[in-house]
Symmetry: C2
Subunit: 275 residues, 2 copies
């Protein structure tokens, strides 16, 4: 047992004590949407199921990429949603937000209904270089009923060999690299091709997840969770894509993200050359 593993065991023991006294018994069990009470237990029987959904998280990722989808997945009655990471230590996402994994690559169910991978910048590059992360994504992705990504999470799917021959999208800064992974680049916000579902940058996770929920449950359920989330967006500005942003703003963001794109391109080209 390594030092870090020993510390994780100690952490989990402390957490178990805290949760045992400070929260209801529901938190001690694996997260399952059936247990959350409030209103899910009143939903129609036709809306119930038992999917196993895994959301991959890793250091320095963009939390909104996965917390948007978690909102919708987390309300699918009977589904079990796990945040999966390489260990159970709290995962430092971007800008001071930590998310607690609920399963590890080892304890995550072998056969998933949905595997979802979020993105980021430097954190995603590190994950793309991490054999354990790629192996987990490739393994679960080979059997999952749905394989999904948000933002540059698509580059992780690509690096794991899961996009070869599939139409796919990504954050606009990463989309031109998809071809290196054998994918057919599509400039759309959400792209479904057979069992692959890929979303554009960050905020597209909401659109992607709602579209997936539509495929997991009757239309009325998807409509209900959309209404519950009051998802009728009205962005105060209208430049969310490279085509609609002011050219000077586009140029600025391209400069700010140039290092990431260059590093990611080195990896995608290396992948292409290996295959």
């Amino acid at each position: 047992m390594t030092d870090i593993n020993r510390r994780n065991v100690a952490l989990m023991a402390v957490l178990a004590q805290i949760f045992a006294t400070s929260t209801s018994s529901a938190e001690q069990s694996p997260p399952s949407n059936a247990q959350t009470g409030t209103y899910l237990d009143r939903m129609p029987r036709a809306w119930r199921g038992n999917e196993k959904i895994a959301i991959v998280i890793y250091d320095h990722m963009t939390p909104l990429d996965v917390v948007g989808p978690h909102y919708y997945f987390g309300r699918v009655p009977g589904a079990e949603v796990q945040f999966v990471a390489n260990s159970l230590r709290p995962i430092p996402c971007e800008n001071g937000l930590f998310i607690m994994p609920t399963a590890t690559f080892e304890t995550c169910p072998a056969d998933l209904d949905v595997l979802l991978v979020g993105g980021g910048t430097n954190g995603t590059l590190a994950a793309m270089r991490d054999p354990a992360t790629l192996e987990f994504i490739a393994d679960r992705g080979a059997r999952a009923h749905w394989v999904a990504s948000v933002c540059t999470g698509s580059l992780l799917l690509g690096e794991a060999g899961l996009l070869r021959g599939y139409r796919a999208t990504s954050h606009w800064i990463g989309r031109p690299l998809l071809a290196d992974y054998g994918a057919i680049e599509v400039d759309e916000r959400v792209v479904f091709d057979r069992n692959r579902a890929t979303g554009a940058g960050v905020s597209a996770g909401l659109d992607l997840a709602l579209a997936l929920v539509q495929r997991l449950r009757p239309l009325e359920f998807a409509q209900a969770v959309q209404l519950l989330s009051e998802y009728a967006p009205e962005p105060p500005l209208h430049g969310g894509t490279p085509q609609t942003a002011p050219p000077a703003v586009l140029q600025q963001v391209q400069q700010l993200t140039a290092d990431f794109v260059n590093s990611a391109r080195q990896m995608s080209v290396a992948y292409r050359d290996r295959h």
Copy 2:
């Protein structure tokens, strides 16, 4: 020291060890956007500032209410964004997502540039009944440059006495209760009235936060982070409001949320009767 406090001290000691070995030194310092590297350090000097932003989190809240705003606030160069809770234990939000606080009600800066409160259902009711939470929100809200809420977080602002005489919105299930708190109910997605900024349900946090960022920084910065988040939403369905949802779906969600609304109404009526 209570048992729970003792356990929290033990937890933090374990966490400190883990972070010391497993993450860079940046995570040990208070979160400040200036430290995140990647691209923020390349942004124009005119985009830099030093705001103190506090996001209030509490048990069983809706994490997306605050993680959307955190995306935008977390990119404001030089701003310090804290997740503030009644203790430093990991906060169990809805459906198995835990967020780690970075400050407590005691350690949070006294004078804030932005105070943001998210919502939920049963968790929000419990927070509305918690004197320490209300006292913190009332105290920081009395001096904060901006006082903001997402979703039913507006009911927390109301209960803390911060909405009297202000135009405000909320999640559509909570909006009819705002009048009890002395607010003027407005059926809009984002409502600004002097220094109060309130948003509609859950997903409106993105619109609210981007509108706030527009007020903290030059327009070009807000445009840049909108493009970076690829915020050009395309919901796959079009029934995100009570007006646009199918009537049967609206009725279903009203039934599912009836207990919450009844409990919240008891509180808002009691507030009205006390004032």
